[in-house]
Symmetry: C2
């Protein structure tokens, strides 16, 4: 008998019909001989409606009370789901994040899980119940206040519970069939990925793929919990994310390239005319860090010999743009730059695949594909298993399609890309 | 500095405007130098909407999950209320029933409070916050499951918290101006009562007055917590319910008669042809008690000498009628009666007042008033401070008005009723 953690998002439980459909699927898993723990998000638009109410009474709702408000959403969906399951003749009990032992820090609206003590869940499933747990929420360790985990928090709840319960798999049910080689809205020929390693999935997630969030995959990798991303609307197999393909599954092998991700949510800041001497870059990024802004790519131009000045560019989420400019202007006298440039018309295209470690031609093929598509490159950043470039935002769709085709990822293509190095 | 517990019902916080209005009133109490604890119900129709959702997924929602669902309602209203107060520049924190230390038994949907441990509330108000507490809910002592207190539960939460915190007063805000000498919808000349004793209020509550529930008043009496029932829509003084009028308040003195209550929610069951021998009544009421039905009035007719048979009648909530008939039919062979009669076209009129203990003419005046109004009496029941009669349901409004007038309770009447005994 296995232990399965299933997570259903808001679109899967948008109304009473959705809840009943999901209840049937959960009961199937139970009938197949599994112990089942279900993590559920708030119904469809509930969260938006609660936010709307909050804005009617307070112009900037936030913090402790906002978390208290939002967590009402999962309370409703989980209780209804438990009722629907009981109505199918199976026993179910719902638990708040606090009751399920999801212990977090005290950062309201984006708390981090620091421990999971699922004693009540374990008891409940050992007694034969299906346990339904509220996603997205926990309780703070020090003050015992209700907290929420921020965007994508229910996925993290599911993986964290799966880890604490030593589950065999964490199934993330969503409204798409799995993880694709590119965003299907941009690349019509994008293929569903049957299996992908944690490492490649982490790079895709941090490069703009929205199916799974980085923190959720990171958690799963740390505790080695296989994730199965699949649709709650079909019975199809989705995408497995794990250390290695299941034993005996011959069809699935590590691809050289997992996929192409893109991200148009970032902006570029250029600090112009920075004296090219030790400590300058440090003072810039200390100012940014002090403002609690996470940056992504960083590039320093070659210094012009005549002036002894250089330019430093970095990318960051557009939503942080205003804050970054303010922080830099404040530190201007310390840093001593000429001017600031802000550009939010950029896009990032990333190619991800563990295979590029041993296939030296990948980088060359990537740049050739972009060049052939007439796409100009502004910044470049690489890791062992990823290459990212920044281009004009308008060039992104064409660039993604060109790269997807060049690496043989198109669904109806039988061609494998030819690398300079290996001849494969 | 005093400690005030305020309770606001669903109609007072029906929408964002209502919440903002209530927030202002709460802040006023705080500005007047009080520590303030607020108990709040779910917004307007929220509970009905949640019940509707539940019925869509399950034909008979009940028990643990139903409580989990319903408690989302107060979670929303209390978080919004705390936000609205913060928006007025005051600190507020909201607490679930569980966080507020409302410990109950495990009877879902109608749990009873068995202890209140308000440590977190005490800390919160001592730190200068206004504490907002979810009414109607608690946590079970043994299983730590979320429970609800049933009808009128928020009033009970407020009084129980006031008792545990040793509050100076428990203010129950509602959509009427206080407790009246009769239901103003039936008696246009009904007067608001300025002060009423716990005892008289208990009798009114158990006789059909709906402003305060019996269990809430009982709790307040046991811990001697004065209740102030008042409107959240006006600034008027309402009705004080306490052991004795506030010192120095000369205007307020104990009335001989507090008011007239009526109740049309009961039915009458008559067990016809019961052998008039010891143990017969016991076996009837044992059968009823075993079905967990609370009965109200009981009357046994004088036995007819010729047959040795008698009739026993009792009243009970209409909602329990079916269950009572079933229970009696099952026990028919043991009890040995001829037949059962069920009558749900009855009404009960009660006259309540501690003064009747020392005014022997009250009972006579009561019956005279009913007789003059042409109302026929079917059953009579009395306590030290109450007389109740059962009549035809259609006679109730006229009977209430007649009694109200006869005892000088009409608002524009200067006449005091003349009792046979005292000549007053």
């Amino acid at each position: 008998m296995g232990l399965v953690v299933q997570k259903y998002g808001g679109s899967s439980v948008a109304d009473a019909e959705g809840i009943k459909r999901v209840a049937k699927r959960i009961v199937e898993a139970k009938k197949n001989g599994n112990q089942v723990v279900v993590v559920v998000s708030a119904m469809g638009d509930t969260t938006d409606e609660l936010i709307d109410l909050a804005e009617q009474v307070s112009p900037m709702p936030a913090g402790r009370e906002f978390d208290m408000l939002l967590t009402a959403g999962e309370r409703i969906s989980m209780a209804l789901l438990a009722m629907a399951i009981k109505n199918l003749g199976h026993e179910a009990q719902s638990f708040t994040g606090s009751q399920a032992g999801v212990i977090t820090d005290s950062v309201h609206n984006k708390a981090r899980i620091i421990d999971v003590t699922p004693g009540r869940i374990k008891t409940s499933i050992d007694e034969g119940n299906i346990a339904i747990v509220a996603g997205f929420q926990g309780v703070s360790q020090d003050k015992k206040d209700i907290t929420t985990l921020g965007r994508g928090g229910s996925d993290t709840t599911a993986v964290a519970l799966a880890a604490a319960l030593d589950a065999d798999v964490c199934e993330i049910y969503t409204d798409v069939d799995g993880v694709f080689t590119a965003d299907p809205r941009v690349v019509k020929k994008a293929r569903k990925i049957d299996w992908i390693s944690f490492e490649d999935m982490l790079e895709l997630a941090s490069s703009g793929s929205k199916v799974l969030l980085h923190r959720c995959v990171e958690y799963a990798r740390r505790y080695n919990i296989p994730i199965h991303v699949r649709s709650s609307f079909s019975g199809l197999q989705g995408t497995w994310v794990s250390n290695e393909p299941k034993q005996g599954d011959q069809k699935v092998e590590q691809a050289i390239i997992s996929g192409v991700a893109h991200d148009t949510s970032e902006a570029k800041v250029t600090v112009v005319g920075v004296p090219d001497k030790p400590g300058e870059a440090a003072s810039i990024f200390r100012a940014i860090a002090n403002a609690e802004i996470n940056i992504d790519m960083v590039v320093q131009n070659v210094s012009a010999a005549s002036t002894g000045l250089t330019d430093i560019s970095f990318t960051l989420p557009k939503t942080e743009g205003r804050k970054a400019i303010d922080a830099l202007e404040k530190a201007r006298s310390v840093i001593g730059f000429d001017s600031l440039r802000y550009d939010d018309q950029i896009g990032k295209i990333s190619l991800v695949g563990a295979g590029m470690k041993t296939n030296p031609g990948v980088t060359a093929s990537f740049f050739e594909a972009l060049s052939d598509a007439g796409v100009n490159i502004e910044l470049i950043s690489t890791s062992e298993i990823r290459i990212s470039v920044v281009t004009r935002k308008d060039d992104v769709p064409e660039a993604v399609r060109a790269v997807h085709t060049a690496f043989g990822l198109d669904s109806d293509s039988d061609e494998a890309v030819v690398y300079g190095g290996t001849g494969r």
